[in-house]
């Protein structure tokens, strides 16, 4: 809430100040809102004005009561995600700030990226091919999503049966989860049991394919739920180990498992 935002240097006419406020309030008709969005895209002072209004008004959001979430809402969301893959980051997003966040957050594989780069093509996700298509010139996001939806259809058959399966078992030999890896590089964790996750802890999923390289984190879970694992640029093969450990919130601070192993299993090739 800096009083001297970017707009201070190049004052906006009052009608644009008010327009930015109306836009932030949600008062504009769809047509007007579209024009305001276009103005924001081409005029940083106007964009900053809109953001400043939004930040001021966001105080109202914090006065809202918390509503009880229905237990199935997350699974409803998750079910929709498979059909709407994340749009791969555009180069413009790769600002220094984003890179710094990536580093600070130990985003999966940031350190392994160089080593795994040559393998990426083999194990790339649909997202990667999406990025390829987009950078290749079919740039519109809508088009990319359409391509993705089309690819989804074509890949449905290939995706339907995993090529590798790992059964993860607890120390007392209960089956806790299955990891399925598909021909298109997609890897998912399917939970078969729940673990009690104490406050301030998370479940972290690891994979180990080479003891020289050591284990790699492939996902953080607040609770056991069907999840896509981040194996897109890691090798994948039979006998590869998968395990779930209990780690501090945010994941293991040292990039290797620190907590107790809750479940572990080795991948096997489907016949």
């Amino acid at each position: 809430m800096s009083p001297n935002g970017p707009a201070a240097g190049s004052p906006l006419p009052p009608e644009h100040q008010a327009l930015a406020a109306e836009y932030a309030l949600g008062l504009l008709s769809p047509d007007e809102a579209e024009r305001a969005a276009a103005r924001a895209a081409g005029n940083p002072a106007f964009a900053a004005e809109v953001e400043r209004w939004r930040r001021h008004f966001s105080g109202f959001d914090r006065t809202s009561p918390l509503a009880t979430l229905p237990p199935d809402l997350w699974s409803r969301i998750e079910a929709k995600l498979d059909d709407t893959p994340a749009v791969t980051a555009e180069p413009s997003l790769e600002t220094s700030r984003a890179a710094e966040l990536r580093e600070r957050g130990r985003l999966p594989f940031s350190s392994a990226e160089a080593a795994a780069d040559s393998r990426r093509r083999l194990f790339g996700w649909l997202w990667n091919s999406l990025a390829f298509w987009r950078i290749g010139g079919l740039a519109a996001v809508a088009a990319a999503i359409a391509v993705a939806v089309g690819l989804n259809g074509q890949l449905q058959q290939a995706r339907s049966a995993p090529v590798l399966v790992a059964i993860l078992q607890t120390p007392d030999n209960q089956t806790a989860a299955v990891v399925n890896a598909f021909a298109d590089g997609r890897t998912e964790l399917v939970p078969l049991t729940t673990f009690t996750v104490p406050a301030g802890k998370v479940l972290e999923v690891w994979t180990l394919w080479d003891r020289q390289v050591g284990p790699r984190s492939v996902g953080l879970l607040q609770a056991m739920s069907s999840s896509r694992l981040k194996l897109d640029n890691l090798p994948l093969g039979a006998n590869q180990l998968f395990e779930i450990t209990l780690e501090p919130a945010g994941g293991s601070p040292i990039g290797r498992p620190t907590g107790p192993v809750l479940a572990i299993g080795r991948a096997a090739q489907r016949i």
Partner: protein, 185 residues
């Protein structure tokens, strides 16, 4: 509904960057941290729980799809997430046409509308400049701004609610906003 519920501290900015890289657990982290508040915000606009749940569901799908468009240089992750949610809620509201409550099933959970705009403003943080600046406006003007943001009222609905002619409400509200802006500066 309680405000004391433990909320996980999640770095939303970082979570969005992770969503952009395809990390579904990051989206789940946002849901765990903000979902209950987001449903509350959507219910204040949409009043009916099933519609508000749809708005939250759609918002998370849109957040997932568009996470790569979030630019931390240009704005905060919180405002980005809530803007997605409010936009979705408002378009559901305008598509549904709230003035036709005929198809509302019996017993469906409807938000308690007991909280007046004045009460909402009173609940703003004392440290929030918005609170002090709204309090310096005429009551009717601050009420209009709160009703618009919190309950998603349109110009027409605002005119009806405040008993003002539709022809003047727009410029009257603009003047209110510019006065508010002077104070917020």
């Amino acid at each position: 509904m309680q405000t004391g519920t433990l909320r996980m501290a999640v770095d939303l900015e970082q979570a969005l960057v992770r969503c952009a890289s395809g990390d579904k657990t990051a989206l789940n982290g946002i849901y765990a941290a903000e979902g209950a508040r987001m449903l509350g915000v959507a219910m204040r606009i949409l009043k009916r729980r099933p519609l508000a749940e749809d708005a939250v569901q759609d918002a998370f799908v849109l957040i997932w799809r568009n996470a790569a468009k979030f630019d931390p240089e240009k704005g905060s992750a919180t405002t980005w997430i809530y803007t997605v949610l409010r936009n979705r809620s408002l378009s559901i509201l305008r598509d549904e046409g709230r003035s036709e409550p005929t198809d509302m099933p019996m017993g469906e959970e409807v938000v308690d509308e007991a909280e007046t705009p004045e009460e909402t403003i009173a609940r703003l943080s004392d440290a929030d400049a918005l609170k002090h600046c709204l309090e310096r406006l005429e009551p009717k003007r601050r009420m209009a701004i709160a009703l618009t943001y919190v309950h998603g009222l349109s110009h027409g609905e605002l005119a009806g609610k405040l008993g003002m002619p539709l022809g003047t409400i727009k410029s009257w509200l603009r003047r209110s906003l510019l006065t508010l802006r002077e104070c917020l500066q």
